[in-house]
């Protein structure tokens, strides 16, 4: 049985924990708003870009001279997994879910006899994957210092990935991140970025026949590397919003748990105090009767 003093200390400590989780929840809520805004702002660019690329890819894709970024190297041996996670923890199952998805993908590829290489973005994913896949790591991008993810960060990552592709280090690249559905749901996703796959957004693009200047292939060669950066950028933004959403609900849970704990401890404290008082009374009364 803990003493009264112990209980009081416990209650105080849980109370200060609750203060911290509450503050973190509110910070995450503010950051989530900003992250969602950023994702919203980026959407028109990504949508237009993909629509144009889909049109271009459809018209050039058939020929043999199409860029490798579009049709692939013709091989399917080496896969690069770009795993994007957060830099900070305390966000529930967010990182674990992305890593789980990536791990499943890696095991599947290995079972099929392919070579797997891993590039991580964000500290948490690296920490989790390093234990089992340390021999497959080819690199890590650190965004700890980055306060607000900008397009330049995505360009940096894209440049790294493209340099590896040009050097023939891999044939297929897949991006892992979580898409933001709502505050409680973030779905981990795998998206193939090389060779590029553009989902046609309906047949609206096919309706207009465009002139191209310079010709289609030159435009495609110019735009495909940018496409990689664009996809990474939208992945990063999605991830940013998901991370804050996950943190918000995790911290909300933690705050509620702390509240419950405080209630329970307070009841226990009051009971013990009452017991002590009753004991003292009994002692006094029995002392008086003995006289």
């Amino acid at each position: 049985m803990p003493s009264l003093k112990d209980l009081k200390n416990r209650i105080e400590s849980v109370k200060s924990t609750r203060k911290i989780t509450k503050a973190m929840q509110m910070v995450a809520a503010a950051k989530l708003r900003r992250a969602q805004d950023a994702a919203e702002q980026a959407r028109p660019y990504t949508e237009r870009f993909n629509a144009v690329m889909a049109g271009l890819a459809a018209s050039v894709g058939g020929s043999d001279s199409a860029p490798k970024l579009l049709i692939g190297t013709g091989n399917d041996k080496t896969h690069l997994l770009v795993v994007m996670t957060s830099e900070r923890g305390l966000c529930g199952g967010f990182n674990t879910n992305i890593v789980k998805k990536a791990r499943a993908h890696a095991q599947e590829l290995q079972a099929a006899g392919k070579t797997v290489k891993i590039l991580t973005v964000g500290r948490k994913g690296r920490d989790q994957l390093k234990r089992e896949y340390s021999d497959m790591f080819v690199g890590h991008v650190d965004l700890t210092e980055v306060k607000r993810v900008g397009y330049a960060d995505a360009q940096g990552i894209a440049k790294d990935v493209l340099a590896r592709f040009d050097a023939g280090e891999f044939d297929v690249a897949t991006l892992f991140f979580a898409t933001f559905v709502n505050v409680v749901t973030q779905t981990p996703q795998a998206q193939q970025i090389i060779p590029a796959s553009f989902e046609a957004t309906g047949d609206e693009g096919a309706a207009t026949l465009y002139d191209y200047e310079p010709d289609e292939e030159a435009i495609l060669a110019d735009l495909l590397p940018r496409g990689v950066a664009t996809q990474i950028f939208s992945g990063l933004l999605e991830n940013g919003a998901s991370e804050q959403g996950a943190r918000m609900s995790a911290m909300d849970n933690a705050t509620r748990n702390a509240g419950e704990m405080i209630d329970k401890l307070t009841i226990q404290y009051n009971r013990s105090r009452q017991a002590v008082i009753t004991n003292e009374l009994i002692e006094i009364i029995s002392g008086a009767e003995a006289l």
Binding site: A38, A42, Y45, Y151, T230
Partner: protein, 137 residues
């Protein structure tokens, strides 16, 4: 006014402009062009340069780097990798980018890249330097 066309300027990070315009001067990869309503549908890549937007009653200018322009039947969209209103562009920004372009030229020259890449880098550098004089910074 009847002869205007919807114009959008978007960068990956935000939408910079969305309005009805009478003409847009676009720095295309093969040369500057002015797109007006009823222009033939066209897609062109951009070189670093000035984008002039003429709306009824107002004109604005943006500095754009990389990306492409899509001229459709009922709208013009410019998707620039980086776009800055001319007023917000500073000499220091431009200098940083020129330096970067110069480094890219050196890097392309020193490694045994295909010759086309060196040319591309040199062209990019020239475009950026021309832009500096153009803006009279």
């Amino acid at each position: 006014m009847a002869d205007t066309i919807q114009f959008d300027l978007v960068s990956p990070e935000r939408r910079l402009a969305s309005l009805a315009v009478t003409a847009v001067q676009i720095p295309g990869a093969d040369g500057d062009m002015t797109a007006m309503p009823d222009h033939a549908p066209l897609i062109t890549t951009l070189r670093p340069g000035l984008l002039k937007v003429e709306a009824p009653g107002a004109t604005s200018e943006y500095v754009v780097f990389g990306g492409f322009a899509e001229i459709g039947t009922d709208s013009i969209s410019v998707l620039a990798e980086k776009a800055v209103p001319v007023g917000e562009m500073t000499r220091a920004d431009l200098d940083a980018m020129v330096t970067e372009a110069r480094d890219a030229v050196e890097a392309a020259k020193s490694s045994d890249q295909p010759h086309g890449l060196v040319d591309d880098a040199v062209k990019l550098l020239a475009d950026m330097e021309a832009l500096g004089t153009h803006m009279s910074l």
